[in-house]
Amino acid sequence: MNEPYILFQVDDASYAVPAKQVQQVEMVERITRVPNAPDFVQGIVYVRGQVAPVINVRQRFHLPDVPTSPRSRLLVIHLGERLVALLVDSAREFVRLDSDAVQPLPGGLSGPGRDYLQGVFSLPGRLALLIDLQRLLNPEEKEALSEDLEASHPS
């Protein structure tokens, strides 16, 4: 099935999200910091009468942080009842892709964000990684737990 996707870039890779889940794409203005929020939550923004957390995708993928630039974008995602903004390096492309053409990720892959990917699209001359929004947006219990364990057993 041919479906619209929005492509965004983080570091050197291109990622795809189904356009139907993207409510809007915004320039990055002021993000309000939230004390004690998980590391990958950059803060909150106000979008159309709602307060949405901003997920810094670089942080989420454990990539080196860079300051936001004029090309940085907020992808405002609707997922069920939730409204969440993804902070990405840039987002400029709107493409139609055959959703059946998504291929499984090659085994043994351990790149950035491996845990948050559903598959990969082959575009002419490049790849677009399909994001698993559900996992990207969920507080990582396993991770938090292991951090707690590390904290309680200092090496």
Binding site: T32, V34, N36, I44, Y46, V51, E81
Partner: protein, 678 residues
């Protein structure tokens, strides 16, 4: 689409069934009270008959409601209840405590059945016992009995009304939703009346212009002309940006002479049979009853409030643009400032009106309490009844819903730990039945809710002794009421040795206090040994709006609810004493602990280091005084509180967020949480 419709329908069902069940329980309780009092004046007999009639109707309606949603067991049980009530009504059976218990129980079972519609995974309760009992009383189970009069309330919202024969007045304005939307109940009645008198209706659109007004044709004049020619039902202004027009609805015996009104655009209104009313012409999903009440979903009011909040932000932006108009003529600037001030007042009124629309009487929260008292008293072989005062005091619907749980804990506590067994009470010269008083009172934007009992009271020395046993206090220490409450609210505390039906005092008190605090309120206690105990919840009138002080700490702006702040003062460096554990400030002879907001929130310090002047906000928090230190005070605002509902933002110490004039968001701090662990 059809799925949404059925969802809406189920919502309607749940709400309506819930209301009828609630009412039925209340009426059963009143009936029981009446029978227990045992007096039989003519007035009381009439009240009793009316109660039984109401109960009968409630169960009859519940039967139909269950039937419509396919809740078969519910319809059967409602039918059995209806038959029993019919027996009572016709005097075929008498009320006995056993029958009343049976009715209460069956009503509870029915309520659980209704819940299975909301939550299909919930098990369908077994009603065999209820049926057996009700049948015993109904002696000869009869075929379904139809009530002599149909229930007076319409079962469906007006939009689906089934009176197919009559012309619905709303149908006349089907093509003009904006005009229809402006019609209030009186207008509809006038329209209906005109239709019934066989008058012709016409709608004229009048667009005023400078040219027309030079010729003396204004909307006032047009209205007068129409009123002369017929009966002007309503003039509705239609505003589209700068274009203002008026829709004038007129009823007349003869067709109006349109040539006499060349400046108007005419529309003929023809009757449409009610069955064909386009949905858009009716206000959707609201029920207009004969009492002038409209049922509106809460979400719609929240939308309205959000939009009003957006308008406020636009207003602040406009206000901040004022400063850029230095070059403009002074008179123009003054006009603009006045207009902005008027706009601010209008906005405040608008928000206040929306908030008022969400208020419900406290009676809604008090309603279930008599039943809880009855059940627990019975189970503990005590006697107790409820007295309500100030139950008409209004509070936000949201607060009422979150109030139920803490209130229930306080009420159960009053029965379980406050009120003595009947024999003990009589020995002390008290009436054998204890009184639990529920009192509501408003103090500005704060609502005070008191749960008082006339029981044994709380003995401070025994609380202290028990606390000492638990190792929380040194033996022999004297405590005051506030300290006693703090001990009672500590999980794991219970002065009663045996575990009883109700949770020990500790658990309930802890829940009550935490719920109050989560809503930005507090719990306090007064007790007199031998005379009784009173717990008071102080709660905000609404959780949606807050009056806040905007403060700056480091690079960020935060909002602090003003009702938490006792005093604002400028910090004088000389009055600070630095200790190893922190800073103490001398404020007019008393000492107060300083907590720097930037440190508490781990904010990076500003590039220019600490600002020259800083301010303190002294906070209300029990005995020890704490002041929050901030870099700047930016002003006081009434803000719309946005809750942070996303799981990623479920953090203690943050009550919500609100938008600022520059489009960014400020966090509303629950300052207690930040200053508690001093």
């Amino acid at each position: 689409m059809s799925q949404f419709d059925s969802q809406d329908f189920l919502q309607d069902f749940l709400q309506e069934a819930g209301e009828h069940l609630e009412q039925a329980r209340r009426h059963l309780l009143e009936l029981e009270e009446l029978d227990r009092a045992g007096r039989k004046t003519a007035g009381e007999k009439a009240t009793r008959a009316a109660l039984i009639d109401d109960l009968f109707r409630s169960f009859h309606t519940l039967k139909s409601l269950c039937g419509m949603t396919g809740l078969e067991p519910g319809a059967r049980l409602a039918h059995a209840l209806e038959s029993a009530l019919d027996g009572l009504r016709k005097g075929r059976i008498q009320t006995t405590p056993r029958l009343l218990d049976g009715l209460f129980h069956a009503a509870n079972t029915l309520s659980e059945m209704v819940e299975t519609v909301r939550d299909p995974s919930a098990p369908m309760p077994d009603a065999r016992l209820d049926h057996d009992l009700l049948e015993q009383f109904a002696q000869r189970p009869e075929a379904p009995v139809e009530p002599p009069e149909p229930p007076s309330e319409p079962m469906f919202p007006a939009g689906t009304a089934s009176s197919a024969e009559t012309v619905h007045p709303a149908g006349m304005l089907a093509g003009y939703p904006r005009v229809a939307a402006s019609f209030n109940e009186t207008d509809w009645l006038r329209l209906q009346d005109a239709l019934e008198r066989g008058l012709r209706l016409s709608l004229a659109i009048f667009a005023p212009s400078n040219e027309k007004s030079r010729q003396g044709i204004t909307v006032t004049q047009a209205r007068e002309q129409l009123a002369h020619a017929g009966e002007l039902i309503k003039a509705v202004p239609l505003i589209d940006g700068a274009l203002v027009r008026f829709a004038l609805v007129t009823a007349s015996t003869q067709p109006l002479d349109r040539a006499g009104f060349p400046e108007m655009e005419w529309h003929e209104l023809t009757a449409i049979q009610s069955g064909k009313i386009p949905a858009a012409s009716l206000p959707p999903r609201t029920t207009v009853s004969s009492t002038g009440l409209v049922r509106v979903e809460m979400r719609r009011l929240e939308d309205l409030l959000r939009q009003a909040g957006d308008l406020s932000v636009t207003h602040w932006r406009l206000t901040s643009l004022m400063s850029q108009l230095e070059g403009a003529p002074a008179s123009a600037r003054q006009d603009l400032r006045r207009t902005l001030e008027r706009m601010e007042r209008n906005l405040r009124d608008l928000r206040a009106s929306i908030l008022r629309a969400r208020l419900v009487p406290l009676a809604e929260a008090f309603g279930p309490m008599p039943l809880a008292v009855r059940d627990l008293a019975r189970a503990m072989q005590k006697e107790a009844h409820v007295v309500m005062e100030g139950e008409e005091t209004e509070i936000d619907k949201d607060v009422v819903e979150r109030l139920l749980n803490p209130l229930l804990h306080l009420v159960r506590n009053a029965v379980a730990h406050g009120i003595e067994p009947p024999a003990d009470r009589e020995q002390m010269g008290k009436p054998s039945s204890g009184t639990v008083t529920l009192r509501g009172k408003s103090e500005g934007d704060t609502i005070l809710i008191t749960v008082a009992d006339d029981g044994a009271g709380i003995s401070l020395p025994s609380v202290a002794a028990r606390a000492a046993e638990l190792g929380w206090l040194s033996p022999g220490v004297k405590i005051n009421e506030e300290e006693a409450l703090a001990i009672l609210c500590r999980p794991g505390f219970s002065t009663q040795k045996q575990s009883d039906l109700s949770a020990g005092r500790g658990v309930g008190m802890d829940v009550a206090r935490r719920s109050a605090q989560a809503m930005g309120g507090s719990l306090s206690m007064r007790s007199e040994s031998g005379k009784g105990t009173a717990f008071t919840l102080r709660l905000p009138l609404t959780l949606l709006m807050a009056r806040v002080i905007l403060v700056r700490a480091g690079p960020e702006t935060y909002a602090v609810p003003i009702d938490r702040v006792e005093e604002l003062f400028e910090i004088e460096a000389g009055a600070i004493t630095r200790l190893e554990s922190g800073e103490i400030y001398s404020l007019r002879g008393t000492s107060i602990a300083l907590r720097r907001l930037a440190d508490l929130l781990h904010l990076p310090s500003g590039a220019d280091g600490q600002p020259e002047r800083q301010y303190g906000l002294s906070l209300r928090a029990g005995d020890h005084r704490t002041a929050l230190v901030v870099d700047r005070l930016l002003g006081i605002r009434d803000v719309v509180v946005r809750t942070l509902s996303d799981p990623l933002l479920a953090l203690p110490g943050i009550a919500g967020a609100t938008e600022l004039s520059d489009g960014s968001v400020a966090l509303i701090l629950n300052v207690q949480e930040w200053t508690r662990s001093a």
